[in-house]
Assembly symmetry: C2
Homo-oligomer: 208 residues x 2
Amino acid sequence: MPASKRHPETSLTPRRAATRDRLIDAAHEVFAERGFHGASVEDLCERAGFTRGAFYSNFSSKDDLVLEISQRYSERLLAGVAQVAARDDLTPAEVVQAVLTAWTSDRRERRLWWLLQTEFTLHAVRDSAAGRSWAKQQAGVRTSLARLVEETAARRGLTLPVSADDFARAAMALAAAGTGQHLLEPRSQPDGALAARVLRVLLGAQAG
Amino acid sequence: MPASKRHPETSLTPRRAATRDRLIDAAHEVFAERGFHGASVEDLCERAGFTRGAFYSNFSSKDDLVLEISQRYSERLLAGVAQVAARDDLTPAEVVQAVLTAWTSDRRERRLWWLLQTEFTLHAVRDSAAGRSWAKQQAGVRTSLARLVEETAARRGLTLPVSADDFARAAMALAAAGTGQHLLEPRSQPDGALAARVLRVLLGAQAG
């Protein structure tokens, strides 16, 4: 959801929104080069051409910026899932395949996303404030995904052999682990392949 | 497998084996405190009470030490799986549950293991030499686990809806992700619960 909806009390001016976007673009580049721990707020400001003041008037911390990046990425992903799930010309297994193919199509982005998500999860397990924010955000994504799974299954008359929440948890786990395995063994494991094969089974026998 | 079997050309003296064990124990402690990246070879030597010379006559690098820790952990885990899988008084679903319960029983160890494995995977994705070693080692564990799954399924007349390799990949992914989710949300997600629920489905309809 756009930042303006997340902070209704401070509805963003176009200029402020552009500053946030530029800081987020710069962060993508700097995280790709140095990783989450290796990149300081100063590095991000320098790349974006802003002062620390501009940074802190938009984000309370580097963690806050990562949460915003993650929120945007997840919303884009969920919108893509909703679009594909609505296509009644596809079987459920084809829906899963189409989602994974779209998700993994930009290899550079997938790699960056996997690195950032993995680093931030490590940070969140060690830092309790980051842990609470990350758990809350991940739960939000999972709930949205589970709702989509539930609605799609109901519309198609499917009964899944696991709960929609477990389906969402398993999808997120398998997609992330599959990307990790793909990055280690690019030739033997196409990105998304493991998740597609396993999720097909979790759709149940009727999935086609 | 014991270190002496891995290096038949340099069969270890008891004293040498004791040095390796002490370095590994010290590494567990130091990694728990400072993480993989935060712990230097000097830190490990200091904790174990050895010189750098003693370290390098046993391990070629910090990476090599982590690979040995991982190998020992995996072998212990696989031995546990083999033992439980041989119990014909358990249904396949009960075998999976028993393996996961045993695996997640030592919370401190699981946390340390999850942190070290996650940090080393990040390192391996960025460093091609570490990447090759890690991919090879993970593939070895996966192959052993897949073989156990295949043998157990055959003995019990089960036909799994995914290949034994995919079952092993999914088990490793779900167990790791489940531990990560548990560390972030200790109350809502018991460690091992997600993997147990999903793997039961991957055992097929006949699993009981």
